[in-house]
């Protein structure tokens, strides 16, 4: 049975929007979650998130009042959960730009259904990340020292420090992601403006839509701007986690001082980011009836990216050990033996199980196409990637060069609460996003529909698909949609002669 669900990923001819919906159906489907009247469940989720955000407020407030002594830091381990959480959140933030920029440049049209969602996730994750460097300085009122601002002491930042590069990389990344997201939103905000029934909504969406009127003269510059932003964001996203890894790699600490760090961190970031997209997207597409726009094919593609990047991360773990042995450096060798078999062996093996073993299930198509299974694995990956940063940070520090100062690091309740609170910030922003913004890029999804092509002839896809997808597909359940898709595939196989036309349709 599973074989019938097959979609040919190479030709990309499986429909990206299931069924024969019109443009208007897409608009309605995406706008429906924002226009519903029953918000009880949303309020529940929002209140829980807000409560967690409150915890963040308390944890940060107490930190500012009392100082970093409330955390579990000790002398060899002077970098604890603050940096772990920072890298964790920044890493998650990488999937959004990967999906929106890199897949755009590679003309992966399937990205259109998920890019808005992933970009929103990026922005919220980078915001959650930005808390930690802000507060870990202890004396938060001098956090502005991080920026090259003229001051009465005539002191300037040291531009040779990777920590300073990080300030520039992360703030540039945040700004560019926000601009990219907003530019993508403008046509959809105009759609919401034109659909609004209440005056307030019309005004607010109208202000942010900037008076967009879909003019072709505007689309011309708009599409150029979008393409250029994608081209700028692609090296940017690679540079950001590279620079984050420099925070470690440029130091002389065994276990950190390796040239593999930049590519290894970037792969890990994409890995964790896609996992987080799945974690959020799988429930969201179910709750908001977007299963015909975010199809199983989209989820499967993400699973493949997770499998690829997860294997790259696994390779990096192995290569670190190899180089530790091959370099002949006893300190490096000790750091890695200690990592896998020392005091923090439990953390190391959690990391390996979650990051290296769990994605290997995605070699099986059946598992890649099961939303429930994908969701479970995505949670494992999230956990594993948090532990990766924990392992890297703590195992290298807790047994440093001087055995007399060796110590064991344990977080305090305040470390935990700050981390939980950062999820509060993330989820609060996400709740607001799903309520007030189109979760799927409406205008962009329309461009991948067959009838969007100016040379489309009505009935063109029927030659290929057979008459299996009738009207009324919006009401269909996912099982129906999948079964229909399977018939499409079967119908197509018998009509391979029309395939080449089909492939060129969007060219």
């Amino acid at each position: 049975m599973a074989a019938n669900y097959e979609i040919d990923p190479v030709s990309g001819r499986a429909p990206l929007v299931l069924g024969e919906g019109s443009f208007s159906d897409v608009t309605n489907a995406v706008a429906a979650p924002m226009e519903r009247t029953d918000w009880r469940k949303w309020w529940m989720a929002f209140m829980v998130s807000l409560g967690m955000l409150g915890i963040l407020g308390v944890a940060v407030g107490y930190l500012i009042w009392e100082g970093t002594g409330i955390w579990g830091l000790n002398v060899p381990v002077a970098w604890g959960w603050a940096i772990v959480n920072f890298v964790f959140w920044v890493g998650i933030g990488h999937a959004g730009t990967l999906i929106s920029a890199i897949l755009f440049l590679l003309r992966q049209k399937w990205r259109t259904s998920i890019n808005r969602f992933a970009e929103a996730m990026t922005i919220f994750a980078v915001l959650a990340a930005a808390i930690f460097p802000g507060i870990h300085v202890g004396r938060i009122w001098v956090a502005y020292y991080m920026f090259p601002l003229p001051n009465q002491m005539d002191v300037w930042p040291n531009f040779r420090s990777p920590l300073l590069w990080d300030v520039f990389a992360v703030s540039t990344y945040f700004t560019v992601s926000l601009l990219f997201w907003y530019v993508g939103l403008i046509p959809d905000l105009a759609t919401m403006r034109d659909r609004s029934v209440t005056k307030l909504r019309k005004m607010v969406y109208g202000i942010f839509a900037l008076g967009w009127r879909g003019s072709t003269r505007h689309w011309l510059h708009y599409e150029t701007a979008y393409l250029i932003l994608a081209a700028l964001a692609t090296p940017l996203v690679l540079s950001v986690h590279t620079i984050v890894s420099f925070d470690f790699a440029v130091s002389n600490v065994p276990g950190w001082h390796t040239t593999i760090f930049p590519p290894y961190f970037v792969a890990g970031a994409i890995f964790s980011g896609f996992a987080m997209v799945l974690t959020l997207m799988i429930p969201a597409r179910k709750i908001f009836d977007l299963e015909h726009l975010v199809t199983i094919k989209h989820l499967e593609n993400m699973a493949k990216v997770i499998l690829l990047t997860g294997s790259m991360v696994g390779y990096a773990y192995a290569m670190e050990f190899f180089i530790a042995w091959y370099s002949g450096n006893p300190y490096e060798g000790f750091a890695f033996v200690n990592r896998a078999f020392g005091d923090y062996a439990w953390a190391y093996w959690i990391m390996v199980s979650c990051n290296v073993i769990s994605p290997q299930f995605f070699w099986f198509k059946k598992l890649r196409r099961s939303p429930m299974f994908l969701f479970i694995i995505s949670i494992f990956v999230n956990i594993g990637m948090w532990f990766e940063r924990f392992v890297i940070t703590v195992t290298s520090l807790h047994h440093d060069f001087l055995p007399s100062s060796w110590d064991y690091y344990t977080p305090t309740i305040w470390d935990v609460l700050t981390f939980v609170g950062s999820f509060g910030l993330f989820f609060t922003l996400f709740c607001l996003f799903v309520r007030f913004m189109p979760m799927v890029a409406i205008a962009e999804v329309k461009t991948v529909m067959p009838q969007a092509d100016p040379h489309y002839v009505p009935g063109m896809e029927k030659q290929v698909q057979g008459d299996v997808l009738g009207p009324g597909w919006m009401q269909r359940s996912e099982a129906d949609a999948v079964a229909a898709q399977a018939s499409v595939e079967a119908a197509r196989d018998t009509k391979t002669d029309t395939d080449s036309d089909e492939g060129k349709r969007h060219g």
């Binding site: 443009f23 990219f180 403006r193 009127r213 072709t216 090296p235 540079s239 100016p454 489309y456």
Partner: protein
């Protein structure tokens, strides 16, 4: 209201119809006109005979200025304002300044792309005559429009109505200025 209207607006149901209509209007030699679509229709700019966007030049200039300013800032801070020898490196150890230079180049380039696009498109522009049409609100949903301005030298309401009808317009109206 001036006696002269803004122009004539034709509505189309499909991307194909508006595409061919644009080709026709272009070939008729109209200059003050535009088409409006819910999404970027592939190749419609060429069907309208529009030149390429100048935006890439703006981005190039902005990106290079950002990178240049970034290097200048780091040189000035490290070699002039606060000359400190760190790790025995020269005061202007430019290799270490590459990451920040790159980031500022990207940042300024992105500003150039976004605000340059707003500038070329004259956005935000909250009032425009096309919004006077009741039916125009569906341009952000599923309808396609062409509007020819009354100020166009070749503007002739009767002839145009006929032209649009022949091109498959589903609705034609005169829009107030």
């Amino acid at each position: 209201m001036a006696d002269k209207p803004f122009g004539l607006m034709a509505e189309f149901d499909t991307a194909q119809a508006v595409y061919h209509a644009c080709e026709k209007v272009r070939d008729e030699g109209f200059t003050r006109w535009d088409s409006y679509t819910p999404f970027p229709v592939h190749g419609l700019d060429k069907a309208m005979g529009l030149p390429r966007s100048r935006l890439p030049w703006i981005v190039l200039v902005m990106g290079l200025s950002g990178a240049g300013l970034g290097m200048l800032l780091q040189w000035w801070v490290s070699a002039v304002a606060q000359p400190l020898i760190i790790s025995g490196k020269p005061l202007f150890s430019w290799q270490a300044f590459v990451p920040v230079t790159f980031e500022l180049g990207v940042l300024f380039g992105a500003f150039g792309a976004v605000f340059g696009m707003f500038g070329l498109n004259r956005l935000p522009q909250y009032y425009h005559s096309v919004f006077n049409s009741e039916r125009f609100s569906r341009v952000t949903d599923d309808k396609f429009f062409i509007a020819i301005e009354a100020s166009d030298p070749k503007y002739d309401e009767k002839k145009l109505k006929k032209l649009f009808k022949g091109l498959g317009a589903t609705h034609i109206e005169v829009v107030e200025d």
